[in-house]
Amino acid sequence: MPEPTSPKDDLAVSGAGAGGAMDLAVAEGTSLEQPPGSGKSDKARSLWSDAWHDLRRNPVFIVSGLIIAFLVFISLWPSAIASGDPLACDLAKAQQGSQPGHPFGFNGQGCDVYTRTVYGARASVTVGVCATLGVALLGSLLGGLAGFFGGWFDSLLSRITDVFFAIPVVLGGLVFLSVVPGTTVWPVIAFIVLLGWPQIARIARGSVITAKQNDYVQAARALGAGNSRMLLRHISPNAIAPVIVVATIALGTYIALEATLSYLGVGLRPPTVSWGIDISSASAYVRNAPHMLLWPAGALAITVLAFIMLGDAVRDALDPKLR
């Protein structure tokens, strides 16, 4: 972009009288027009397009993204790679190992472990995604409002989050899920949202308070913006990154939490197919038939790992201080 450079030339010549100084001034003038690292491209780049640019080149993101894409695919269409029925069991084949057509063997009830592992992805992914969405929405809404308005609402919310942090997860889960009936994923999701939102609320509150103090929020106010406009257009986009990072990492732990609750017998219950249930029922036979435990446990571990890796990659891309 050609900025008028003549005043700079004048100053360099009259001030120092040295050609070197003039070159420097001109070089500076031009380099200022190009942000560092933008190269030849003159395209507008926002924080989000920058982050996407980084993510696409991050091998951690590519690997975790492929695993997650595969998981989402098999939770939507499990029959595409598993032709059997996860609930069709033959007790005669109980605890048998790998054999043609049944690569992962059979479990204690004589059900095909491969089919059940594939079908189990749906429960885990549903719980993980829905619980994270719920937690992120509720937490950032309450935390954001508390951070922006402060005052009594903020104090009240802070004390409420303290109360929730004091609840032990497993004990809370045992109580909540034995009171709330149902064998579907929804009570489990509701419990995770109930317990998880204070974490996001705290982060959202802190990051809104930080963003609120920025000069551009003050400037927007000086130019006549009202509360809702400041919060929605000037604060939220600048405060949302930490929430996204924590929520993505938490997604993995929510999947693990679902498995924990199912293992304890209060989460999902048969006939729902879930890795947690299978791990629970297989754990008694781990010495005789370890394959019954290892396949669903391995799938769970890979899934949790993939989501946590995704969270890490997202954090690297969104946090400019870590670059």
């Binding site: 972009m1 900025e3 700079k8 933008s38 551009y216 003050q218 927007a220 000086a222």
Partner: protein, 324 residues
């Protein structure tokens, strides 16, 4: 009179007590006029401006007394939503650091256009065309191509031009510029000041220029108000104050400007530090640092004495200072 500030007081509650940031400031600006408010950091010049704009954080800030008349209305008696309509449309502010005053996640076009969306209810598409028009007006080259770019893609001078464009968008009657050139390098400073002065003339706006840079003031201001410890210590037309200051503090400020004919000599500096606003010295606040201080300066707060037509000084010894 476009804007008249009368006996304005602002204080802040802190853990250590009440900090009196502004203690009875009077100033006025007319259409087409430029008032420069000079003073060190902490002299209350920015706080006064924030009170005028209505963007003071309250609490901890508080305005115990004073009036701010803008186009005949006392702003301090208006409700917040009425003041909000005035902000941006009738009076606008330009901030010191244009990079931190622009939202990093919105393109400059969106931020410029926002003025028209908020105050004029314009559609997004129309507001974008207006944004390009404004960028042209503040002479940003290739405005059409750059309207979708983000603040970090502009140089410091260009960013300050965008801030100016935002402030001027709705052609307000009054602009408050809070150290608009402090963050820029010297050559760009001159360009930005010229642009601001030119647009002011064109739109016949009142301009309050807050600065601690005496060099910036000389060319563009009509009158000057010098602030010290939350009070105005001297007001005068710009030429007279440079020729012959009537307050020892102003005199000290002028003497501490490096000059070409003083090559090789030590640069003058006002001794001591500005007072702690929690504990302003009794009498004249400047007395501990003043070379002319007498007993009366330690006991009696000097009122603003009329020195000449349109010229006042808050010094017991203004005559002696003028003659010196």
């Amino acid at each position: 009179m476009l804007l008249e500030v009368r006996d304005l007081h602002v204080e802040f509650k802190t853990r250590d007590g009440v900090a009196k940031a502004v203690n009875g400031v009077n100033y006025s600006v007319d259409e087409g006029e430029t008032l420069a408010v000079l003073g060190e950091s902490g002299s209350g010049k920015s706080v006064t401006a924030q009170a005028v704009m209505g963007i003071l954080d309250m609490p901890p800030g508080r305005i115990p007394q004073g009036e701010i008349f803008f186009q005949g209305k006392d702003l301090l008696k208006l409700k917040e939503d009425q003041r909000r309509k005035i902000r941006g449309a009738e009076m606008a502010m330009i901030f010191q650091d244009a990079l931190s005053s622009l939202n990093p996640v919105l393109s400059v076009g969106e931020q410029l256009g926002e003025m028209f969306v908020v105050h004029r209810g314009m559609s997004k598409k129309d507001s974008r065309a207006k944004a390009v028009e404004l960028m042209d007006r503040v002479r940003i080259p290739a405005a059409k191509e750059r309207v979708g770019q983000y603040p970090h893609q502009f140089s410091g001078g260009m960013r300050q031009r965008i801030m100016i464009a935002m402030a001027l968008a709705l052609e307000p009657k009054l602009i408050i510029a809070d150290e608009p050139t402090t963050a820029l390098d010297v050559t760009v400073q001159a360009q930005v000041m010229d642009l601001l002065a030119e647009l002011q003339r064109e739109l016949n706006m009142g301009l309050i220029l807050i600065t601690h840079d005496l060099g910036v003031v000389a060319d563009v201001a009509d009158k000057i108000a010098v602030m010290y410890a939350g009070r105005i210590v001297e007001t005068a037309p710009v030429k007279e104050i440079y020729a012959n200051p009537a307050h020892p503090y102003t005199k000290g400020l002028l003497e501490s400007i490096p000059r070409l004919d003083q090559k090789g000599q030590e640069l003058y500096a006002i001794k001591g530090l500005p007072p702690n606003l929690l504990n302003i010295p009794p009498g004249c606040a400047f007395n501990p640092r003043c070379p002319m201080a007498q007993d009366i300066c330690r006991s009696k707060v000097p009122p603003l004495f009329d020195v000449a037509e349109g010229r006042q000084s808050a010094c017991h010894f203004w005559k002696e200072t003028l003659d010196a």
